[in-house]
């Protein structure tokens, strides 16, 4: 499951960043650390497979803002937001929208890892969905004009 998947850890707190990477690698996963959301976005492209673990509060772009940006870019990557704070209306809304998983710091036990695993599963599914969609889109593009008309009538 973890093959060719990477956990992208975005946090301005280096120590915490590294500790998450350590956790991932201790379970045989791959992890990459980014000091800021902007730094991650620089390296982002659609081929990236994995999960994004990001701190909510950061100087510059916040975790939620990163998630919004990824959504805008049609990214299928699930985003896990770590926060030290109690839930706010903003975070609640985001949660309900299903866009993101929010975990309070400090988290209990395997909470983070469970979340990552769950996210990876979702990612797989989302990836497959995205691939099929893209495939259909490609095939759609090969249809003649008349075929498209028919399709539209269906």
């Amino acid at each position: 499951m973890l093959l060719n998947k990477t956990v992208f850890v975005v946090d301005d707190d280096e120590e915490l960043c590294q500790s998450v990477c350590a956790l991932v690698s201790s379970l045989g996963g791959a992890a990459r650390a980014f000091a800021s959301a902007e730094a991650f976005l620089e390296r982002y492209d659609e081929s990236l497979r994995g999960v994004v673990v990001v701190d909510l509060r950061m100087p510059g772009m916040s975790g939620l803002e990163l998630q919004a940006e990824l959504a805008r870019r049609n990214s299928h990557l699930p985003v896990i937001v770590l926060t030290a704070f109690a839930r706010t209306p903003t975070t609640e809304r985001a949660m309900k929208a299903g866009a993101v998983t929010i975990i309070d710091k400090p988290y209990r036990d395997d909470e983070l890892w469970d979340a990552i695993r769950t996210a990876l599963v979702h990612e797989e599914a989302a990836w497959n969905v995205q691939q099929r969609r893209q495939d259909i889109h490609r095939r759609l593009l090969t249809l003649s004009a008349e075929e498209r008309q028919v399709l539209e009538q269906i």
């Binding site: 120590e15 915490l16 590294q18 500790s19 350590a22 770590l82 710091k105």
Partner: protein
């Protein structure tokens, strides 16, 4: 008989007659001598003498006039009718109301032939005068008919003639050249006297005069003794009773009696405030005899017997300062008249009293029959001197009493001030022994004043303060005053803080006599100060705790981060260790990371605890950069939350200050938070807060600058006021406390507005001393 030669029988008869006459004359002389030498007094002598003469001469009436004042009234009469004596008694010219009329010089005029004889107004060529100055006639009728007024040497009353006396003989009584009396023999039958008889009488008169004179001397002597006795008594009275009033009363009585006066007074003379002299009666005869005069008396008593000098005889005495005698007051130009209710004043003598050359008083007597003479005044000299002496003594006593009273009052006043003063008062001698301590001071230290007298001031002090105390005493010695605080040991051993205001005491020759100080108990003040200081610290602490509460979010974040890392690393280690082939190197690395994270967490906690701590007892040397870094860490979260970029600009080398780290921390956190929160809604992007630290000569200069909205004028005026805040939930204590802390550290706080926009808050701290030296050397200064 015939013109022929007398017969032998006739001669014999004449011889017989002559012998008989001589015998009779001898007998008379002897009897008179005996009389003269008899021990009888004057009256007795006069009686006997007149009887003798009457018997011897066979005259109807014999009288003797003796001098009394200026008059020569009858001292003794025998055979004269009462009326005659009364009418003829006074020889002075008087007016109808009995007032004597003086000549232009104020002297009395003696009338009648008696007057002539007495005054020596006679013409020896005239037959009725003898060379000695006596007058005799055997027929007054014939005399009157044959002579003129001029011959008779001025007015004669001629009453003898009117009365029917034909034979009249007047023989002056002389002694030491002065005529002091007159022997008068009258008979209705003419021809009673012979020339020889008159001669004999003149001779007898001499003896009689001497006898009289002796007795008068004796009388005078007795009078003097009486006077002296009276004086002695009065003096004794004055000494034993120290009541001058009674003494003067007694003296006045003596005076009036001795001078045969009707009434009198003794007064002292004072100089009033308006410069005029006045007399104050010390004793006065009670001359009230009816309602009006009693009222007058009361009036005088009401004015305290003080009479300003006026133009009357009394005034004349006082203003001239000399003896004043007036025996014909009604015609005396010096007289000023008397008040209506005043008894008549016929004659007056005012005697001035001197003591040590100064006029201190006077005595006045009135209405002596016969008037006053200078001799009388002289006779009274010891009396006058005594009175003057007593007046002087009384004055001296009064002055002393007055001075003593004034001194006592002054002492009382000062004693009252000192005793009732709220301040403690303490005086010590040069040896630092207590010479005086007032009640307040003693009770301040828990003693009774008596317990402190004589003891050293240092007995009541703490040994640590002795050095400073001695320095202060030295200042007193040098003549310098000072004010300072001093702690004393109370009886129960507790402290008593006082504020001292001390001065040195110098003697009249400038030597050091000790010191004198006033003390105010400032124990309560000190306790209050301490309490206040304590409360201030408690407040600061409370504010720090409150600050921590407000920074809770940031704090939680600070602590959570390392915790999270620890959890992650621990899990990682756990996972790795369950691997069939654990990567030990990784496990080791991650274990180390756990430790580091824990340490980091510990740091945060420590930092926070440090901030929440109470102030240390003693400040320490610490680098300002460290304090700035810590403060920045604490507020980092807040800054991030508000999108404020926090920057520090500090020199590389540590700048050491002597400070209470917790307090300076508090100041920095306060300023930083203010700066961060200042933005409000303005400048959504580009918010910046910069902490600038630099050295300026001997101080560290710290500035916290923001580019926020800045300070309005009203705000900047009230910035450091306690409880002034622009934030809705703010306490308004942050800046006030910050200023207190900085000033306590020897620095200053300042707020300025920036050029572009925003505000800057600055504060300074003195650089630690040895660090200062290094800094100077760095600058190139050489010691």
């Amino acid at each position: 008989m015939g013109g022929s030669e007398p017969t032998s029988r006739e001669l014999q008869e004449q011889n017989e007659e002559l012998r008989a006459q001589l015998a009779r004359e001898r007998e008379l002389t002897v009897r008179l001598l005996k009389l003269a030498n008899a021990s009888s007094d004057l009256h007795g002598l006069m009686r006997e003498a007149t009887a003798l003469l009457q018997g011897w001469t066979g005259c109807e009436a014999v009288g003797i006039r003796l001098r009394e004042g200026e008059d020569f009234p009858y001292f003794e009469t025998r055979g004269f009718p009462q009326d005659f004596v009364r009418l003829e008694n006074s020889l002075c010219v008087s007016s109808i109301d009995g007032q004597r009329i003086g000549d232009c010089q104020g002297n009395v005029v003696l009338e009648c032939m008696c007057g002539n004889v007495l005054c020596g107004r006679f013409d020896p060529s005239l037959p009725f005068f003898t060379p000695h100055g006596s007058f005799w006639t055997n027929s007054t009728a014939a005399l009157l008919a044959s002579t003129t007024e001029a011959d008779r040497q001025a007015r004669t009353r001629n009453r003898c003639n009117s009365e029917g006396y034909e034979s009249v003989a007047l023989v002056p009584l002389r002694s030491d050249g002065t005529t002091f009396g007159l022997l008068q023999l009258n008979d209705r039958r003419p021809g009673r006297f012979t020339r020889e008889q008159i001669d004999l009488l003149e001779g007898l008169a001499a003896g009689l005069a001497e006898a009289i004179g002796r007795r008068q001397s004796a009388q005078g002597f007795r009078l003097s003794l009486q006077l002296l006795a009276a004086i002695r008594d009065a003096q004794l009275q004055f000494i034993t009773e120290t009541s001058s009033r009674a003494a003067f009363g007694a003296l006045l009585e003596t005076l009036v009696t001795m001078t045969d006066s009707e009434y009198g007074f003794i007064a002292d003379v004072i100089c009033r405030e308006d410069g005029r002299l006045a007399t104050r009666n010390l004793a006065i005869s009670d001359i009230s005899w009816d309602a009006a005069s009693r009222q007058l008396f009361q009036q005088w008593a009401a004015s305290n017997w003080e009479f300003p000098t006026v133009r009357n005889l009394i005034g004349a005495t006082v203003t001239s300062g000399r003896l004043v005698i007036s025996n014909a007051v009604s015609h005396d130009p010096r007289s000023g008249g008397t008040p209506p209710a005043h008894p008549p004043l016929r004659s007056f003598m005012g005697i001035p009293m001197y003591s040590r050359g100064e006029l201190v008083g006077m005595a006045g007597v009135a209405n002596r029959p016969g008037g006053y003479t200078e001799d009388l005044a002289e006779f009274l000299t010891p009396f006058i001197v005594t009175c003057a002496g007593i007046i002087q003594t009384v004055r001296g006593q009064e002055k002393e009493k007055e001075a003593a009273r004034a001194l006592r009052q002054s002492e009382e006043k000062y004693r009252r001030i000192v005793e009732t003063a709220n301040e403690g008062i303490w005086a010590i001698d040069p040896g630092q022994r207590t010479t005086y301590v007032n009640r307040q001071m003693a009770s301040m230290l828990g003693y009774a004043p008596e317990e402190m007298l004589g003891r050293l001031m240092t007995d009541f002090m703490f040994s640590e303060d002795l050095a400073d105390h001695n320095a202060q005493i030295e200042k007193r010695r040098q003549g310098a005053d000072s004010q300072y605080e001093r702690r004393f040991r109370r009886k129960d051993g507790s402290e008593c803080w006082t504020h001292v205001s001390a001065t040195g005491i110098r003697g009249s020759d400038g030597d050091f006599l000790g010191s004198f100080a006033m003390y105010v108990n400032v124990n309560r003040l000190k306790a209050d100060e301490k309490r206040l200081s304590l409360m201030g610290q408690q407040l600061q602490h409370a504010v720090r705790l409150a600050t921590l509460g407000e920074l809770a979010a940031g704090i939680a974040h600070e602590v959570n981060q390392p915790l999270c890392a620890i959890v992650n690393y621990a899990k990682a280690c756990g996972n790795a260790s369950r691997h069939p082939t654990p990567d030990l190197a990784k496990i080791r690395e991650w274990s180390d990371s756990i430790a580091m994270a824990a340490a980091r967490g510990g740091d945060v906690v420590r930092r926070l605890c440090g901030f929440a701590r109470r102030t240390e007892v003693h400040p320490c040397k610490i680098a300002i950069q460290q304090l700035v870094r810590d403060a920045a860490l604490l507020v980092r979260f807040e800054a991030e939350a508000r999108a404020v970029t926090l920057r520090t600009e500090m020199p590389q080398d540590d700048l050491l200050v002597v400070a209470q780290p917790v307090q300076i921390h508090q100041v920095l956190v306060n300023l930083l938070r203010n700066a961060i929160e200042a933005f409000g809604h303005c400048r959504p992007t580009g918010r910046r807060v910069v902490v600038d630290v630099r050295r300026l000569v001997d101080r560290v200069w710290i500035s916290v600058e923001d580019n926020g909205p800045g300070l309005s004028e009203t705000v900047s005026e009230r910035l450091f006021e306690p409880f002034f805040t622009t934030k809705p939930e703010g306490l308004g204590l942050g800046l006030a406390i910050s200023r207190t802390i900085v000033e306590e550290h020897g620095g200053q706080v300042l707020a300025t507005s920036n050029h572009e926009n925003g505000a800057s808050f600055h504060f300074t701290l003195p650089i630690a001393k040895d660090a200062l030296q290094d800094a100077f050397e760095q600058d190139g200064f050489r010691r």
